[in-house]
Amino acid sequence: MKQARVVHEGRVQPAVERDGRLLLADGRSVGFDAVTWLPPVAPVPQPRTILALGLNYADHAKELAFKAPEEPLVFLKGERALNGHRQRTRRPPDVRFMHYECELTVVIGRTAKKVRRGDAYDFIAGYTVANDYAIRDYLENWYRPNLRVKNRDGATPLGPFLVDRADVPDPMNLALRTTVNGKLTQSGHTRDMIFDVPFLVEYFSSFMTLQPGDLILTGTPDGVVDCRPGDVVVTEIEGLGALENTIE
């Protein structure tokens, strides 16, 4: 099942995908154009933990002239960084290099504390796509990547759907691609992750308890390019869908 959260006629509703349309919670079926898309995760009672990986693909680590990390390079976001499918992300006027990052995103489904690698998938509700934009002009070497780069309002689109774990037999075997204005600029594969999904669930839950609805953005492969106002950026992962965002 592919679940979404949308605003339809002024009301927030959960929805599921049916034959290329959205079946709303109130029973109506509407087209993808009839709604405003929200991040496909329900509100949670506590502040949502949003973990994001840097340099988690061998090729991207190489591209950025780093050696592959020996343990996960992780940073955190606040909920206000998230944005929905088909929304807009602002590029400040003074910047020279703002790039997308297409990332497989894990949505936690059960309280996860000291989970063993072999059990990790039992604690996952499903998967979605994130576009973890970065503005490289603002990078500083203090708690890098710093929040000015990675925690900007609405600069982390998420969606379109939360796809149930049962519908994704092997998340470590998915193709990723990004297009800018229809032109392919990034292609990669989740099998090239340095730290895979079960490892990450085990590693984080070894010192921090994760709750349902918490997120792990697993990093991006090679091939990031600068994006300009007006550019339409589509980050897509096999089986999960195509997340569209426009730079403004």
């Binding site: 506590q46 502040p47 949502r48 933990t49 973990l51 390079l73 992780v74 940073f75 955190l76 976001k77 606040g78 909920e79 206000r80 960084a81 504390k113 603002y138 500083e140 070497n141 203090w142 708690y143 890098r144 990547p145 710093n146 929040l147 000015r148 925690n151 900007r152 309002d153 010192f207 921090m208 308890t209 994760l210 709750q211």
Partner: protein, 203 residues
């Protein structure tokens, strides 16, 4: 019901002059290569919240932790502060500030949270830190690198805080250390007392 943060809790590094001066000789060298320009923030995740009176477990092999006596400014909206709350921003000691400190600062229970949010001018507040009853530190907030209003303005320059989000004003250096078995008490005449006991986590 005691207070627990409903929004994201953001901590601030290098907002005390003592802390800044201690690192100043390293700031122009690798890996930093320059002093920070924007506020250096980090996140204290929901799993870290420890209410007043709760025991805080130290992982096996951890001898001691840094006590981080600070004030949280709890936001009413993007620009207005609803009030201040005592917080104990615990951290595993770490010497490098190059990478985000998730595995040092986001362990279960590593943020002591005061009972109440009260309107207050941080510049007039002090926090006394006692470990097993002995006064170890007195923290004042009247001579910060970025005074509260400046910190809020500089943070707002790159992200919007919202209702319930919390911005910590930072920690004075050197931070007192404490170990399993210690009772750590933060007291502020205006904000009350935040007390937590450190315990060894069962391995």
């Amino acid at each position: 019901m005691s207070y627990l943060p409903r929004g994201t809790v953001y901590g601030t590094l290098l907002n005390f002059r003592s802390e800044f001066e201690a690192l100043r000789p390293q700031m122009d060298q690798a890996p930093y290569k320059a002093p920070p320009r924007a506020p250096v923030l980090y996140v204290k995740t929901a799993n870290t919240f420890s209410p007043h009176g709760a025991a805080i477990a130290l992982p096996p092999g951890v001898a001691d932790v840094e006590i981080g006596a600070t004030l949280g400014m709890v936001m009413k909206n993007a620009t207005e502060v609803a009030g201040c709350v005592l917080m104990n921003d615990l951290s595993l000691p770490h010497a490098s500030f190059f990478r985000p400190p998730v595995k040092f600062k986001c362990l279960d229970g590593f943020l002591g949270v005061g009972l109440q949010v009260r309107p207050a001018d941080p510049a007039t507040l002090r926090i006394e830190v006692r470990i097993n009853g002995e006064l170890r530190q007195t923290v004042r907030f009247d001579a910060l690198v970025r005074a509260p209003a400046n910190l809020l303005a500089d943070v707002a320059g790159f992200m919007t805080l919202g209702e319930g989000d919390v911005l910590l004003l930072g920690c004075d250096a050197p931070r007192p250390r404490a170990r399993a078995g210690d009772r750590v008490e933060l007291h502020s005449p205006a904000l009350g007392t935040l007390s937590n006991t450190l315990v060894a986590q069962a391995s």
